[in-house]
Structure formats: structure tokens, C-alpha cells
Symmetry: C2
Subunit: 578 residues, 2 copies
């Protein structure tokens, strides 16, 4: 491709609409354009990268014996009513009516459609297992679409669904997909990590997320250096304390005046005690119930764990008015003693101590010397706080490290959630009717493009891993008007294309500085620079965009030297296998 | 791929829901399944064919210097309001609201979105011409989705859009795309024909349709054996008569009683005159006007031509009540004398005669000896009837033939329809602001799959052209349980895959009859049959599915003999170039 013919409108300045680096660079490098909130057009430069990502995903899915299908984007409400998700999915499910006023939605995921397809066709255990996938446009009507391709409304996803005869077979399908995902992400040239995760609205018994590691990631994860335990912070278990209730002779509760002290920090400073001795009481509306959740002052509540524990589909912090009505005091002075709520739940790390400071349910007052088992009505102690870097690994007690990541894949064991709701059964070898065991497996294809940039960029632009670069090589031609040099450039281009590298030739009549800047911005991992001086010396300069390393190759032996250098960029710079 | 592992649920019987052959065979061969009215899922066997069609379309678009993009499926109403199509597009445009109650539609076509994209980026004549395409899901909320993939609501289309500096450059883009389309359809292995067409709601000054010839096609077209003129019946011009008003001494109109004679045939039989001497008067509501259209009794009115002549966006035959009110008589007795309508238009073939029989605008009565120029107020004579096989070619006067076809492609010269409505301008070399000249170019990708089957099938199933067959070869293995023969089968499979043929291996434990039936149904153009008897003789039988021809190949020289036979199937049976 000649840059002079290529539709790639680059921008010199960071666009005002973009907050994160991938969004900025996708716009600046002419890869995407915004149509309207959460909807993006892919221009040729972006589409090429997307297409290469899809090809790698497809290759690994096919190798894992998944078979490709294509399901409708527009889905009838009736299927979602069968599983009950028509009611519970919330406003991200965009509902619409056709000309006959029948209800439909735009598919955010396809569990219902695929289960409907399979239940009508599969009758016998001989037809199982089956694993079907598609690469397709999805729509989720995000309340605040943001960060470009990281959280948009219309996006491309690879979604696969497995149907197995029993739990063992399902376990095997799940592992096969985990391994396929590892090959996908390493094949794309990305640093990633698989973590235990919460299943969210998809449901099921077990799930893992695949995270591309990047400081700008929206997700937090914890990794254990000892046993390799890895989990999303939403999910990572916090161990209960090894020894319980240290102080048994706790005095009776004593009311103390704490005027204007709304926070744990205020109270701890005033009483000169560590934050960890102050009890934090958070009040929630969980579906229709009022709930108090207690955690130590030095820990954060984990709302995902709390919602799962409560079995609540909606959980939100109580408004000031509800706090006043349930506790009798303003926000900041709630405590478990004499509180009018339906349920009181406590984090199990609270079992380590028995002498607490907590809000007194009166304005400007706290209690000290509170013993939960004696003074409050705690319904249950459970794991409802978020893990911290200073906590021990829940599996092996080794040290933990926190990381940021971008969720690009998610695999779920669905069990019989959908097959029982939709009656997807088969006859086993003994002729008994049994429910199929399902799994579902997603990869965010468009988000992967953003994640690749979040992980690979510098102040000059992005540098794409060679397997997904729109062009693997940019041939920066400094004298395209010179006939001899133009012909030499064509020879080099043919040589590189001959060994399978796609080449973007900058044949524009522009200054060298502009060409170098654009080459860095457009992100080919390899640059080949053709200029008069080098040509006269029989040499051509090449640049490894990621490492910045420059080398000279001989014009005479260009094919073999380029091939060797290209291998080094793939294997050494990018640690890619092929 | 092994058939025992392949998710291809075939059906023995024709499904009741299917009327046309492609729909029946797509269902029977396990290629598609209906989700709900007009929405279909593609199973692996169907998806493979679709994927191959896309690859050929992509190859030819890229070769024609089109660049691939991907635009959102969900589109904001604001763009459609700019061009006015939000109001005029009708109910096929599925409108919806997002969570913030903003208006959107599901894209039935992308002129607005692409024009919006380009107007923001292209400023200078140096950036033109540009031609961008995408392969993408579209939605048209058809009032009666039918015939499976032939007329569904959600479908895949390749749509391209060109932006040129002037009419000449636009003419070149249009011709380039016409040639690319010819390469696409011949590359797919289909018999097709390009015809002049009406532009419909897309608009513009000129358009051509690409038709796959098939007796079951919904479209009719006319071909000239002399000059090669080809046109859709909606569009084909009917020449005006060479000589005018033969009878000049026409007597005065005479009222005759024609009780119960509502049709041309009734009246012609009663008066013993040819149908061609009876005047047919059709009454229409065209937007808000009442219109009478006159054609000779042996010709059909062409509503597309009439609507274009009137500039009407909605045209429908008047209801009985309106007929009564405008003519004073019931349907069947209307005529141009004393009719209360806004406009009277006449087909220009009526100029050949001057003595007509027509309805008298009284129940059970006609006039004879009507001379239109003397007795009626015809506003305009124009081409408003449909061409017939007995008409002469409008270009060269040679003979014509009528054919049926399936519209699979449509190219349009849009002129400045969209660029002027949306202000898509550029600065020319002299610094003057000018409107871009546009073209749009569609291919119905999913419909092509149905069209390929309508053109290539027999009572046993379909046979796909080799370039788009889900598998080019089916290896019908008659003894897969026999270890020696199983190994021999694997050797043959590797040999065929080694030269680029994809192979479906029927390794099921089934009777030979079942295997042959399924192979014919699944539609691979080549069958390789491995059995014990042939094996012992050192032979393997092959069958050309389309011609039915069977040959034996030597096991020893299988690779070269298969390769030669495969070339014959491609070039002789299918007349393919590569």
C-alpha cells in the first residue's frame, strides 16, 4: 500500500474528546472515528489491525475444535423472557419494537439464541460435545460510554458456547478454551494474565478473566508470587483471621462525643488509635431490603461479594434520608447498636478483635468498647471486603502484588442455568433425559485493539505487535521522486512482501522529519528507511520501533539480512514464537 | 473436517416453512436455521460458504483500490434527518431509542454515515478520489420477509462508496466497480448479467443491477441479442411508435352498452376487436394527487416508470370508492372522457392509433371511436408501460428475450444527492469549494448464497461452485472401520489438502446409501469415494457432482491424477478461470 493513496487521516494534536492513551492514538493514527457516543467507525488502518486480531482468534478457535457460526444481532424478546433475563438485565439491554410492534433486543450476548438453536437439533448423547463460536457485533447500552474502544456501546466480540454431557466433559471444554485463550493472547504478542473472576449477570459457577496488563487498566488484580494464585480484586478471597477475638475482657460500651467527625480517619486521629480499630458501618438498599455491612476501618467493602452474599440483583448505598431514618443520625455516625435495618452482615476479618469504636446512631457521637457478639445482632460473618497488597495469599499465605489490567477475555462455567430455563436436554446412553452442561467464552475483539496500544506506546505513538500491526513494515522512502531510488524502493518492497511481510510505502513528497514522525505514529513495528546517502553506500537503515534500535542492512544481501532481522524483532523484541 | 464431528444437522424431508428451493436446501443441508421471521442463524456449513463468498468479494474490492472500513450498525437519527430520509424511508427503516431516549435506526444502508465520515476529513482535491467499502450486517424491516435468505430482515451486504472530484472521475469509479463486480460474480462461479435499473430510494442519476440468472428469480429482465442491451423490466425503455396516428378520419365517440364487462378481454371479445384497440385506464393516488394512466389493452402499466414520471414517493391504485367518486362508475368502466382527476398521463405507444374503445365513466358502458387528441385532456405522453418480449430493442430494434434473475448487486451514480444535503465539499486546485460526486455499490452477500443454490441444484441437493463450496471435496469413506482403508483415506485427504482443496471426510459408521445421499445434499462439487473393492484394484472413484460424471483415479498416482481431474472440474464443468 502506498501512503499517498491510503485513507489514513492522521492528527497532529491530541483530540480533546480522548482521555486515555489508546483512544488518543487510535484517533491520531487515523484508525477510528467517533460517530456518536459509544459508536465508532473503523478506518482502513484500524480495520487492518482488527482483521488480523480476528484471524488469530479464528485460528485458535478452529484449532480447539470450535466451529464457527453466525447468529442474528437482533433477537426476539421471547427467548430472553424464557430465561428471565428480559426483566433482570437492566438498561444495558437495548430493547426495540419492529413494524408489527413485536419486542426485540440488540444482542449483548447470545446464550439464549445459541441454546435455542441447539435444543432444537441435539437429541442424543452421540451428538455431544459441541462447541460453537462466532465473531460478531454486540450492543450494550452503557450508561457512560468512555475511553474510546475500551468501553463503547457497539463492539465486536468473539463468543463461544460449549454443550457437554456432564461436569467432567464440561471441565475439559473449559480447560481447552483456557488453553486456546492463552494461545490467542500470546499469539497476538500481548502480556496477559488469567485471573479468577466474578461471573456477574452471565451467571454460572466459575469464571476466569483474561487481563492484558497495563497501568491504565480499569480492572485491578492480585497475583501471588508463591503459588501463582491470580484473581480480580472483585473476586479475590480474603482469608479469615487465624486466631479469633483476642481481647475477651472488653468493658461495656461508652458513648463519646465526636462533633463533626464523619470519617474513620477523623475518629482514629481524635482517639489516637489505628484505623483498624474503628468499625466502618455502610448502609445499603439491596433490592427491597435495608442492609448494614461492617468492615474494619482500614479495609474497603467489596460490593460484588456483598451482592453475591445477599443474592441481590441491585445494590446501592443508602441515600442520606434513608440513613437518617434507619439510624437516627446523619451519614458518618451509623453503627450496629440499635440500628433499624433488616439485616446486619460483618466482614469475617472482624473476628480478630473484640473491642471496637463505632458510630452511635446519634449525631456527633460514637461508642467505644463495643463487642460485636455481645452488643450487636450480626446475622453472618463472611468475606465481604476487598483484598489488599498487605494481605496474605488465600491459598498459600505468601505475599501478594497488585496490578492493573484490561479485561479482554472471560470464560464461564454456566452449569445448567440456561439449559434448565430453556429445557435443552439430550438422551444419554441409557435413554434418560438429561440437561446439557454449558460454558460460555468471550473475547473483546475491538477492546483488544485498544489494549494492545495501552500496553505498547511511547510519546511518539503506538507500536503494534508484529502479528496485528496494520502493516508489519513501513518503508520510509526519503527520495521517492528520484527514479533510481524509487525503483530500489520497489525492489525492497517486493523482497519483503515475498517473504510475507505487508509493507506500507511512504511515497509522499514530504520532508524526512514529517515521514519519521508519521511512521512512529502509525505504529509498524519495523521501519525500513531508504535514502540517497545509504543507497550510495549500498546500505539501508532499519529501525526496531519498540526497542528503538537501528541497524544497517546490506542492499546486496537485503532479502536474507532483512529476514534475519525480522526474526530478531519477532523473537527477541516481542518474544513471539513464530 | 470429519463429518462425525461436524455440526451439520441435515433434514431428510423438505421443511414446511420453505417455499423456494434455496430455502429448502439451506435448511435441509444444515446451513441455516430460522430464529424468527426474517432472522437466520448460519450454522458451520452455511458459514463456511459465506466466508468464501466474502473472501472473493474482498479480493476484488482490494484489487480495485477500494479500502475496507467498518461503520456502526446502529446509526443516529440526526444524520438521516439531514438528508430527509428519516421521513421518507418508510417502515423498512427500523427506528429505536436508546436509554436516554435519543433516536437511532438500524442501518439499512450507509450513505449518511460514510458521507459524515468523509466530510469531516477530506478538505482538498489532493485527497480525492477515495473509495471505501465494508462487509457488514444490515437490517431492513421487510413487511413480508420470505424465501429464506432471498428476502430476510437481517442480512450481510458489501457496500462501497466512492467520492470523486467531477463527473468524469465518477464515471471512471463507476466503471471500475462494474468491472470489479463482473470479476466477483464470475470468480464465484455464477452465471450473471448486468442490467440497467431503476435507482429506487437510494436515488441518483444512473444505476445497474447484477442479476444471477435463475428461473426462480423475483426480478424480470430483458436482453437484446443484437446490441447487448440489458435492463430490468422496471426500467427497460419502450420505444415510441415509428409512425403516428394512422386513422385520421375517426368518427365521433359512440356510447355502447357493455353490461358486466369489466376487463379488456370482456370488451374485446364482445366487440370482436384485438385487445390492443381497447384503452386501459388505471386510476392512482400519487402522494396527494389523483392520476389516470392510460395504456393500450395489450400492455401492462409500469408503476416504477409512472412514479418516476410523477415524482411521487408513494403511488397506489385507487380504492373502489375513489374510483366511483372520480369516474362516476364502478371499477372497469373508467375512461379519459369527462374524468374528475388532477392529471391524465398516457403511454406513448398510444400515439400509434387514434380510434379507441374505452370506459365511459358510467356503469356497464364504454365508448368507441375515441380520439385522444380530440376527445380527452391528456397532459403528457410518455414511456409508462412495461416492455414485452415481442417489443423491439429500444437501442437497435433487434429482437428481445425475457429472463428471470435474482438481484445480487446494484451500483449507483449518486451525483451530489448526499454531498449537497450534507455539505460534503472539497477545495479544488483553484481554491474553489466544490461538492464531491458520489457513487454507491452494493452486493448482497447472504442473498448470493441463496442465488448460488437457485442456479445450481437438482432433486438430490445443491452443488456449489468450487470457489464457494463449504468443502470443495467430500471424501465418502465406505469402510472407515477398516484400519488399512482408514489410513488410506487419511493419505488421500492429506494429498488433497496439500494442494489446497478443503476436504470433508465422511467417517461415520453409516450405510453407503446414506453416505451418497448426504454427499449429494451437502453439495461439495467433487466427491472422492473410497471403498474396499476399488482399493484392492488400486483405484479410487471420483464423481463430478454437477455433471454427474464418474471417473477412476489410480491410487499410486493419486496426487497428480486428482489435480488434473480437479482442474477439469474447475475449468470445464464450471468454466472458472483459476
Amino acid at each position: 500500500m502506498r501512503l499517498s493513496q491510503y485513507y489514513v487521516p492522521t492528527l497532529r494534536e491530541d483530540p480533546a474528546e480522548a482521555d486515555v492513551i489508546s483512544h488518543k492514538l487510535l484517533l491520531r493514527a487515523g484508525m477510528i472515528r467517533k460517530l456518536t457516543s459509544g459508536l465508532y467507525s473503523f478506518l482502513p488502518h484500524g480495520f487492518r489491525a482488527l482483521n488480523k486480531i480476528c484471524a488469530i482468534v479464528r485460528r485458535e478457535m478452529d484449532a480447539a475444535d470450535c466451529q464457527e457460526v453466525l447468529l442474528p444481532f437482533v433477537q426476539p424478546a421471547s427467548l430472553w423472557q424464557e430465561t428471565g433475563r428480559w426483566e433482570v438485565y437492566g438498561s444495558e439491554l437495548l430493547r426495540l419494537k419492529d413494524r408489527h410492534q413485536r419486542d426485540y433486543c440488540l444482542g449483548p450476548t447470545h446464550e439464549e439464541v445459541i441454546t435455542d438453536l441447539v435444543r432444537d437439533e441435539i437429541r442424543s448423547y452421540r451428538q455431544l460435545p459441541v462447541n460453537l463460536y462466532q465473531i460478531q457485533t454486540k450492543f450494550r447500552d452503557e450508561v457512560r460510554p468512555r475511553f474510546g474502544l475500551m468501553r463503547c456501546r457497539e463492539f465486536i466480540m468473539k463468543d463461544a458456547y460449549s454443550f457437554d454431557r456432564d461436569e467432567n466433559e464440561n471441565e475439559e471444554s473449559y480447560r481447552t478454551m483456557q488453553r486456546a485463550y492463552e494461545r490467542v493472547f500470546s499469539g497476538l504478542g500481548l502480556s496477559f494474565c488469567a485471573v479468577e473472576a466474578d461471573s456477574g449477570p452471565i451467571g454460572g459457577s466459575q469464571s476466569h478473566e483474561f487481563m492484558v496488563l497495563a497501568e491504565t487498566g480499569e480492572d485491578s488484580l492480585v497475583l501471588c508470587s508463591g503459588c501463582g494464585y491470580a484473581a480480580n480484586l472483585e473476586k479475590a478471597e480474603v482469608s479469615p483471621p487465624q486466631t479469633g477475638n483476642a481481647e475477651t475482657n472488653c468493658p461495656d460500651p461508652e458513648l463519646i462525643q465526636t462533633p463533626g467527625m464523619h470519617t474513620v480517619a477523623d475518629v482514629a486521629a481524635y482517639l489516637q488509635i489505628p484505623h483498624s480499630r474503628v468499625l466502618k458501618t455502610l448502609l445499603y438498599k439491596a433490592d427491597d431490603a435495608s442492609v448494614a455491612a461492617l468492615v474494619p476501618g482500614d479495609r474497603e467493602i467489596n460490593e460484588t461479594k456483598l451482592a453475591n452474599l445477599l443474592g441481590a440483583s441491585e445494590l446501592e448505598l443508602a441515600h442520606a434520608e434513608a440513613v437518617r431514618s434507619w439510624s437516627g443520625a446523619e451519614v458518618g455516625f451509623s453503627g450496629p447498636l440499635g440500628l433499624s435495618v433488616d439485616r446486619i452482615l460483618a466482614d469475617h476479618t472482624l473476628l480478630r478483635e473484640s473491642d471496637w469504636v463505632c458510630g452511635a446512631n446519634q449525631d456527633d457521637a460514637h461508642y467505644r468498647h463495643v463487642r460485636l457478639d455481645r452488643d450487636a445482632s450480626v446475622e453472618q460473618y463472611a468475606d465481604i471486603s476487598t483484598i489488599r497488597e498487605e494481605d496474605a495469599c488465600p491459598k498459600c499465605n505468601s505475599g501478594l502484588t497488585l496490578h492493573k489490567g484490561i479485561e479482554v477475555g472471560h470464560v464461564f462455567k454456566l452449569g445448567t442455568k440456561y439449559s434448565s430455563a430453556m429445557n435443552a436436554t439430550y438422551l444419554d446412553a441409557e435413554g434418560r433425559e438429561r440437561l446439557m452442561i454449558m460454558g460460555s467464552y468471550g473475547i473483546g475483539v475491538t477492546r483488544l485493539l485498544a489494549a494492545a496500544i495501552e500496553q505498547n506506546h511511547d510519546q511518539d505513538g503506538c507500536f503494534f505487535p508484529p502479528p496485528i500491526a496494520p502493516f508489519e513494515v513501513e518503508l520510509v522512502h526519503l527520495a521517492p521522486q528520484d527514479e533510481t531510488l524509487a525503483a530500489a524502493g520497489e525492489t525492497l518492497r517486493s523482497a519483503m512482501e515475498g517473504i510475507g511481510a505487508d509493507v506500507l510505502l511512504d511515497d509522499r513528497d514530504e520532508r524526512a522529519g514529517v515521514k519519521f514522525k508519521d511512521a512512529d505514529l502509525l505504529g509498524s513495528p519495523m521501519q525500513v528507511i531508504v535514502g540517497k546517502k545509504g543507497f550510495e553506500q549500498g546500505m539501508v537503515e532499519v529501525k526496531d520501533r519498540k526497542s528503538g534500535e537501528r541497524t544497517s542492512l546490506s542492499l546486496d544481501r537485503f532479502s536474507s539480512e532483512f529476514s534475519a532481522w525480522r526474526n530478531r524483532v519477532w523473537h527477541e523484541t516481542w518474544r513471539l514464537e513464530s
